[in-house]
């Protein structure tokens, strides 16, 4: 018998490997339930955590930063432009000041990402998308919207009916402050009832089209209709509109 237990020693290593694998399989089976149970607790803890470290834990209630472009896009408040064009009667370009002078709305909803994290009660302020559409005058053949971004890569889409909802806006305020560059500032889309990838950051163009043109992640298998709790195979609690 050698000093590491030899063939007679207990095969603890093998048991640990099998045990971890079995626990992992159980975790996959019940992970969705554990997640929804734990997220409330972790969210509460991290909202009282001055270091912000718990926000980094899985389901810790913080925002995660996603950027598909090669660098962090930037437009100053002065240079920012939003064009509305396509199948409209009056194509128009807004500056940030123009948007701020239109009727303003605020929405307080949970932000739900399709990868699982959720940030409760986040306030967005800006102009309802329906307001911009009414001003541009959508032609009868206009059925959908395509959103483009000044990162040069990202795009998104909505049907006209979705875009006219009262919980879909072009936001320049988040939690009572200007939308920061990381969060898609100066202006981003906010589609409250859908997974957050629909809420395109660094919004620079709204084009009315005759049919839905799938956006960036939708080319990689994400659902075009991204209702929270009813798409992408997820069962998150829906985010109430209306």
């Amino acid at each position: 018998m050698d000093k590491d237990g030899g063939p007679a020693g207990k095969p603890v290593g093998r048991r640990v490997v099998l045990g971890v694998t079995a626990l992992g399989a159980l975790g996959v089976a019940f992970g969705a339930r554990i997640e929804s149970g734990l997220n409330g607790v972790l969210g509460t803890i991290s909202s009282h955590d001055p270091t912000g470290l718990t926000g980094l834990l899985p389901g810790g209630g913080g925002f995660q930063f996603y950027n598909v472009a090669s660098s962090l896009p930037y437009r100053s408040d002065q240079d920012y432009k939003l064009t509305v064009d396509g199948l409209v009667d009056h194509p128009v370009t807004y500056s940030l000041a123009d948007l701020q002078s239109l009727p303003q709305t605020t929405l307080v909803r949970d932000v739900q990402c399709v990868t699982g994290w959720r940030v409760p009660n986040t306030e967005f302020g800006g102009v309802l998308l329906s307001e911009l559409l009414d001003r541009a005058g959508v032609k009868p053949e206009g059925k959908a919207l395509r959103f483009t971004c000044f990162d040069g890569v990202y795009s998104e889409s909505l049907t006209l009916a979705e875009a006219r909802r009262s919980d879909v806006m072009v936001a320049h305020q988040m939690d009572k402050a200007p939308v920061t560059r990381d969060h898609g500032g100066p202006v981003r889309l906010y589609v409250a009832p859908m997974y957050f990838y629909k809420s395109a950051k660094w919004l620079s163009g709204i084009t009315v089209t005759d049919s839905v043109m799938p956006g960036y992640w939708e080319h990689y298998g994400y659902d075009v209709e991204a209702w929270v709790g009813r798409s992408n195979g997820r069962t998150d609690a829906p985010i109430d509109g209306e």
Binding site: V12, G24, G27, G116
Partner: protein, 223 residues
């Protein structure tokens, strides 16, 4: 007490002063390639997951591809290593816990590794680490594939998979940092992994039961 088949690896070249053969070439290549892939998976994970790092690089698609491939290749070095006797023998040693391993980790945590009692070629902490990492990598591979090939699994299992993947990533991070920390504290153990050889004095201090497997002091008198 020692059977012939349990004899330690015979040195392939004469040791310098009184050095013992600790790792074969195959073992060191398995370790090297595995650690490279592991670091690649960990670093890309950091840039995908931690907002501060993600802001620095963007390029999410590229990071995802590198992460997926580092992960899927992670078990391959060890699988290739199974063709080598030295790797198989030490996998057996890592697997089996002898009487000296009982309570070793607990004593090491309380009194330090030096006061935890004699160890064989691998102490119980090293055995446990290797087993945990192996099991965790398997789970990460499975959950990762579920997230990668979304059509493979029923819908709500994918939520569980990504949740488990996130938490286990944290645990792996802590384990790997611990592993590197132990290595940083012991230059000669790093030398052993780099060259395959360690001195008898080091072996007697760190792995006395393994040191006893080698013929006593003869070689130093001969050379």
């Amino acid at each position: 007490m020692a059977h012939a088949h349990a004899r330690p690896n015979t040195p392939v070249k004469p040791p310098k002063i009184d050095e013992l053969r600790r790792f074969t070439n195959a073992e060191r290549w398995v370790h090297r390639t595995t650690s490279t892939l592991m670091m690649s998976a960990i670093l890309t994970a950091l840039f995908l997951y931690v907002p501060g790092f993600a802001e620095l690089v963007g390029r999410r698609r590229l990071l995802v591809v590198v992460h997926e491939w580092s992960g899927i290749m992670l078990p391959l070095p060890l699988v290739a290593g199974l063709f080598f006797r030295g790797v198989r023998l030490d996998m057996g040693r890592l697997d089996r816990f002898g009487p000296q391993d009982k309570g070793w980790v607990w004593r090491a945590m309380r009194y330090g590794t030096g006061q935890a009692g004699p160890a064989g070629k691998f102490n119980a902490g090293q055995k446990l680490y290797s087993a945990l990492i192996a099991g965790l990598v398997l789970v990460m591979l499975g959950t990762g594939l579920m997230m990668w090939f979304t059509a493979l699994s029923p819908l709500n299992l994918r939520t569980g998979a990504s949740y488990i993947h996130d938490w286990l990533a944290l645990i792996i991070g802590v384990l790997v940092i611990g592993h590197i920390r132990m290595a940083l504290k012991d230059p000669e153990s790093r030398h052993g992994m780099r060259t395959g050889w360690v001195t008898r004095t080091w072996a007697r201090r760190e792995h006395p039961l393994w040191e006893q497997e080698f013929p006593k002091e003869k070689r130093s008198k001969e050379s």
